[in-house]
Amino acid sequence: MKKYIVKRIFYMIFVFLIVSVLMYLLYNLIPSDPARAELEGIKTQLRPEEYEQRYRNLRDRMGLDDPILLRYARWMGFAPEKESGELNGMLQGYFGYSNFFKKDVSDVLPVRMKNTVLINIFVTFLALAITIPLGIVCAVRKNGKFDNSIQFLTIIGYSIPIYIISLVFIWLFAVTLRWFPVSGMETPGANYEGMRAFLDRVYYLTLPVLILTFASLGGMTRYVRTAMIDALGMDYIRTARAKGLREKVVIYSHAWRNALLPVITVIIGWFITIFSGSVIVETTFTLNGMGQVYYLALRNSDYELALATQMFYCAVSLIGQLIMDLSYGLVDPRVRVDK
């Protein structure tokens, strides 16, 4: 097992490095010139030859003319910075400078990540609280009227893109019923404290949370249902029933516990994605989250920020994959992942 984990982590790092090289090369295809951008402010105060001199110095100091692999190594923190001679890259915790926010990337992201995690925790719990019982009921009444209608609804749920769900929810709850605001995170200008602040937050975040929950119902319900149907088809269920156990005990104690095994791995994988945030819902509601920051970075050609966010997304999905794979073995000792 230990050997398998080490091997997987090694693979993960390998994949991450390849992805990072690819992404770095890709972003370097964008025609941009940070040196010129930095001199733009004082351009008018300089004579042309002086400007040209400074520009060349700056390019040299920033190492813009070095080979791309060297620049990549600097960015990752494998090679020392040209100017300071120190290692200062991703590995050392320096993610670059955001032109759009005029701040270091490491100052931009944390507050946004906090918001995204806050929203997604609610979404995850709400979705699980709905889908697990629903999936079990569907499996127990397999092919019944209730099951069939839920199956149909789940198909609708995962067929409709989330922005259409957003439009319908906004139309219904924000525009027609006026229960919730159309967008934003808190009442502008009102610096509430304590309980008021919390209620204000709830007021603003309910609609996005509802939409994200609704969008994730379809897939999860189906997954729970399938796992439960498989479990209910096992021989030990027949034995349990033959022993004369009550149906409730059979379902919740014998079947559900075994159906939980495949479900829990998905849930673990799902928990990892709470850091990612939904680009669409966050931009639609102008929520200060990871998804919106990524969208803003791309929209405003703030590529250092976009690159850092991108690598973060990538790391999250790889770690999620790893934990999911490992959890198979953790929750079910019979499964030997390292085989």
Binding site: Y11, F14, V15, F16, I18, V19, L22, M23, L26, Y27, L29, I30, Q151, F152, I155, I156, Y158, S159, I160, P161, I162, Y163, I164, L167, V168, I170, W171, A174, V175, T176, V182, S276, V279, I280, T283, T284, Y294, Y295, L298, R299, S301, A306, T309, Q310, Y313, C314, S317, L318, Q321
Partner: protein, 610 residues
């Protein structure tokens, strides 16, 4: 006959009926080929069949309709912005029929005056949230109106005492009447105004003794009259921002001070002119012999005057077309044929027409018997968007783009997935290892962000069409790992089966074993994956386009049509702009997924268990 009926009912009951039919033992245990079982399972699934039929209908619509409703990427029309779904823009109110004294067709609305002096409006009369042209002011309702004229967003009406009323958008001086008219109205004098006209935010009035009054937004329009023409004006014709005047001596002049396309008046119209008219950007004059001269910014063939079998006596202008009334009561039109403004119905040619009211995209012809014949813009079945484009047109063409992109992306993704998955699964060893690592890298690229990045980097430098291909390729190239993994797993299990061993023993080449012996056995899996992937690719494309990183306007897709709908004003007031694209797209993806689901359970041997 009887047989036919039986078939019919069996198809119906197959689709929707109760299929728990009593069967004899032999029937029930009859051996059937797997293909027939699958087909029967699928045909017996009501949801799947409904999904298939609805999808085929939508598919046929988006593939056939664009042949008839052509997409013009550069088309936009600021007079037709945000018109709700309606087909009754030209339907006269009942009270007006048979009693028409004057009709002024507007952009999406029309104003009519009855012979009793009452004013009626019809069509889409809302200009903004607060301005609605159907709210006719009290004083107008009380006055006895004889003439009316419509501009882009305001209405002018003239009563029998020479009083002039303006309503609608008044914020730019549309209602700021000239001093003479105002004081005459105050004193109760009649200025004997015989003609009123309205253009873009400005209006004009001509009196019997040759006075011309112009008022309105002078920043946009040339509302001046040269002194030498004062007191000589017989008639005016207003273009969007300018006007020409017919003088009492039969010559046509440009009365304003600006230099523009109309100010170079051609020689032909220096004398003997009997009528003038104008479209949005051209003017026309007709002389005693019936010769028609057109000048200005001709862009829709307004100067291509057709041959006429009789002498034209009167000429009327819409926004981009002209209509001429002939001496024998017939009607001829030419110019643009957008919204069928130049397609005269046959019934008009049979009648003797006495008068025509033409404006923007509508034409009303008054017959001898007092009936009204209409042709032109009836309305929009699904409304228009914020640039005045017909939504039906954009939904049909957008659907074609969305489906094409989805289909090609699926084909690319399947091709890569099947080939690599087949190779990895069958050969195993280091090839398997290598392919799976590549799949892991590609799968490790977070999908949406990566596609966004690609189109952000490359997308700006290429044309609209290339961009479409780029999106297809990006979608296809990024979504193959799932298919690859699936195929590989399937092949791993099939590889160990006896028939493969047998094929090997027979000396069949390895490539043939993979693609001819094993692949057909995983075909069911591929079919299901392809169906579900098709929906996913369409969803991803539309999501990208919705965010502005996929296919960008003016090329329509079902995704980017919803981009502009993302604010509460549109959601509430212009509901047709998001409800229709969202509905058809939602229904389409639901149907595809239903079909995929039905296919999966049809292929699944477990579902046949009783």
């Amino acid at each position: 006959m009887e047989k036919k009926n039986k078939n019919k009912s069996s198809l119906f009951s197959r689709l929707f009926g109760n299929r728990k039919k009593e069967m004899s033992f032999l029937e029930e245990e009859q051996v059937q080929s797997p293909g027939r079982i699958v087909l029967r399972n699928f045909l017996h699934n009501p949801l799947g069949m409904t999904g298939l039929i609805v999808f085929l209908v939508i598919f046929a619509f988006v593939m056939i309709a664009p042949r008839y409703i052509k997409l013009d990427l550069s088309y936009q029309d600021n007079t037709q912005v945000n018109v709700p779904p309606t087909m009754s823009l030209m339907e006269l109110p009942k009270e007006l029929q048979g009693h028409v004294a004057d009709i002024a067709p507007g952009t999406t609305f029309s104003v009519g005056v009855s012979d009793t002096g009452k004013v009626y409006t019809w069509g889409y009369t809302r200009i903004t949230d607060t301005i609605d042209l159907s709210q006719i002011p009290e004083e107008v309702q009380q006055a006895r109106i004889v003439k009316t004229a419509t501009g882009y967003d305001h209405v002018v009406a003239l009563d029998e005492n020479g009083g002039i009323y303006v309503w609608g958008n008044e914020r730019l001086g549309q209602a700021r009447l000239p001093q003479e008219i105002k004081s005459a109205m105050r004193k109760g004098e009649n200025l004997k105004i015989k003609q009123i006209e309205a253009g873009y935010q400005f209006s004009a009035a001509v009196t019997e003794d040759g006075q011309l009054f112009l008022w309105g937004n002078s920043n946009m329009a040339d509302v001046n009259l040269r002194r030498e023409y004062e007191g000589q004006v017989e008639k005016v014709a207003l273009t969007t921002y300018s006007y020409i005047a017919l003088l009492k001596d039969g010559s046509v002049v440009y009365g304003g001070l600006q230099k523009n396309a109309f100010s170079d008046v051609p020689q032909e119209v220096a004398s003997g002119i009997v009528d003038i008219s104008s479209t949005g950007s051209t003017v026309a004059a007709i002389d005693k012999e019936g010769k028609i001269t057109v000048w200005g910014n001709v862009s829709y063939g307004e100067d291509e005057i057709p041959a006429m079998d009789s002498k034209p006596v009167k000429i009327y202008g819409g926004l981009n077309h002209y209509t001429a009334l002939l001496e024998n009561g017939d009607v001829v039109t030419w110019g643009s044929d957008v919204h069928n403004v130049s397609s005269i119905p046959a019934s008009v040619h049979q009648e003797k027409i006495t008068q025509i009211f033409s404006g923007f995209y509508q034409n009303y012809a008054l017959t001898e018997s007092g009936e009204i014949e209409t042709w032109g813009l009836k309305g929009y079945l699904l409304g228009t968007d914020d640039l005045g484009r017909d939504l039906l047109n954009r939904i049909a063409n957008g659907g074609r783009v969305t489906m094409t992109v989805g289909a090609i992306a699926v084909v690319i993704s399947l091709a890569i997935g099947i080939i690599l998955g087949g190779i990895a699964g069958y050969f195993g060893g280091w090839i398997d290892m290598f392919v799976m690592r590549v799949a892991e890298v590609v799968g490790g690229l977070p999908f949406l962000p990566f596609a966004m990045i690609l189109s952000a980097i490359i997308g700006t430098r290429i044309s609209v069409e290339q961009r479409m291909y780029l999106i297809m390729v990006v979608l296809g190239v990024l979504s193959w790992p799932a298919t690859c993994r699936l195929i590989r797993a399937q092949i791993l299990s099939q590889r160990e089966q006896e028939f493969v061993v047998a094929a090997k023993a027979m000396g069949v080449k390895e490539g043939a074993i993979v693609f001819r012996h094993i692949l057909p056995n995983v075909l069911s899996m591929i079919l299901v994956t392809a169906t579900l992937d098709f929906a996913t690719c369409m969803l991803t494309e539309s999501t990208l386009s919705y965010l502005g990183f996929g296919i960008t306007p003016p090329t329509p897709t079902w995704g980017n049509m919803l981009t502009s709908a993302n604010n509460s004003v549109v959601i509430q007031q212009f509901w047709w702009r998001w409800v229709f694209p969202a509905a058809i797209f939602g229904i389409c993806t639901i149907c595809i997924n239903l079909v995929g689901d039905a296919l999966r359970s049809a292929f699944d041997p477990k579902s046949a268990e009783r």
